[in-house]
Amino acid sequence: MRIVAENLSYVYSEKSKSLAVQALSGVSVTVESGEFFGIVGKTGSGKSTFVQHLNGLIKVGKDKGKLTVGDFDLTDKRCDYRALRSRVGMVFQYPEYQLFAETVREDVAFGLKNFMPDLGENDMEERIKTALELVGLDYEKIKDKSPFELSGGQKRRVAIAGVIVTRPEILVLDEPAAGLDPKGKREFIALLKRLHEKFVKTVIIVSHDMNLISENCDRAAVFSGGRIVAVGTPKEIFTDNEDILSDGLDLPLTAYVTKRLKEQGIDVNNDLTEEGFISAVALKYGGGK
């Protein structure tokens, strides 16, 4: 499913003059099916507002632009949001705080029962099992446990299983690595990559972590003041883009060093992933000897 936003705008508390906040103004962007797409920007830049449009949690206002997700036209009043939400999974920040059921199995089944009430017992169990295994948990061991007795990392995985259990085509994650330690973060990103390869077509990540974006994303969009100020591959958006710097955002480390070297007349052209950067530097060094 392809996402096409055209001139999308949104105002919070539009009716009240004193409280009205223009959260999005004229956002146009296309996310192709199959992409690992990043969304960066400072707090309050509109990125969360934007992604909440994608599954209709925030509805597109009248005369506020166009948005289509696959065949779903979100500007159309008759849009089937239930169907849409089962296709576009959304994982919020600290998703472990949404767990509520008595057992892990129950909690993961929640979305399934909501979206597919007619699903048979066996199919349902099969899907729950797949979802838990995909996030790296042992179905047999964990299914009857209370989600509240798990560790922080396990809780987060259960929460994600509860979203992917409906087999969405698009998975949106808001700051998925927040609060994890370095090891937890590394494992978590690996999990997302695995999901993207095998299970979910499109992954959209909202993050402050520029290194995470440049390392993992095919393309990314930079939000600032409710607008998209840059969109493209990490290399495109993080090279020669003073807009990003002036907005107080950091560059990924690879982009920063590449830029500094270029200022000194040293060109290490690379795609800004760690591996790409290291290879380019090694090659340059070898070539100079």
Binding site: T43, P182, Y256, V257, E274, Y285
Partner: protein
């Protein structure tokens, strides 16, 4: 004598699993000490032991001559060791900034006029004096956390403990807090104990303790610690990205010098090494 001293401290929440095992460490006045470890390593328990929110099962903690196992010393310790916690939303008690900062001194029974002065000092120290009459709910995460620091500073503690105080903030907020804390350490001579799992945040420390499995696994200057990359990784931690990439480059035959920790240092080292054009 050290300002804060832990001697063979052990602690368990449930009398079965030890959260802190036989930890000994000392912090001198004016130092910037970092304690680093993965989630669940026992580092946050240490913060609570330092200011007598928890009392050691065995061993002892002394602050400025007061022992935390002595019940009468409880408040003497807490007023000397201020702790800022992780979630900025869960440590502010009042709906107005100045009322919140006043909370600590009020508890100590400080005179009204002096509370006013302390509020002024504390808010200025964290650069939030303009928000004295504001409501914390409208502030950003970094600003809220600065108010939380001010609330602790108003107790005039000699030691400021930051228990993962940057973990829930965005990069902007994290920078704000680190700047404020470094300034407090350098200019106001506040002793800082920063507990974190971000390697980037230990770079400015005088001394680093690596906590693993409830015990202290390593200690030394940041440079000394970062030289032991393999052990660090085994403990679920990671080098700062710049140090990690420098290490990888060395493996590929690029002779980047040891001890690189920041992106600036990496850029400068490569400028020297790589041929122009």
């Amino acid at each position: 004598m050290a300002l804060l001293e832990a001697e063979n401290v052990s602690f368990s929440y449930d009398k079965k699993n030890m959260a802190v095992k036989n930890v000994s460490l000392s912090v001198d006045e004016g130092e910037y000490v970092a304690i680093i470890g993965h989630n669940g390593s026992g580092k946050s328990t240490l913060a609570r032991l330092f200011n007598a929110l928890l009392i050691p099962d065995s061993g002892k903690i002394t602050v400025d001559g007061f022992c935390s196992s002595d019940k009468n010393a409880l408040f003497e310790i807490r007023r000397r060791v201020g702790v800022v916690f992780q979630n900025p939303d869960n440590q502010l008690v009042a709906s107005i900034v100045e009322d919140d900062v006043a909370f600590g001194p009020e508890n100590l029974g400080v005179k009204r006029e002096e509370i006013g002065e302390r509020i002024e000092y504390a808010l200025k120290a964290v650069g939030m004096e303009k928000f004295r009459k504001s409501s914390p709910t409208r502030l950003s995460g970094g600003q809220k956390q600065r108010i939380a620091i001010a609330g602790v500073l108003a107790l005039k503690p000699g030691i400021l403990v930051l228990d993962e105080s940057t973990a829930m903030l965005d990069p902007q907020g994290r920078k704000e807090i680190l700047e404020v804390v470094r300034k407090l350490n350098a200019e106001d001579r506040v002793t800082v104990i920063a507990i974190t799992h971000y390697m980037e945040e230990v770079l400015h420390a005088d001394k680093v303790f690596v906590v693993n499995d409830g015990g202290i696994a390593m200690q030394g200057t940041p440079a000394e610690i970062f030289r032991r990359a393999k052990e660090i990784k085994q403990m679920g931690l990671e080098l700062p990205l710049a140090a990690y990439i420098a290490e990888k480059l060395r493996q590929r035959g690029v002779p980047v010098p040891e001890g690189i920790m920041t992106e600036e240092e990496l850029a400068e080292a490569l400028c020297v090494l790589l041929p122009k054009i």
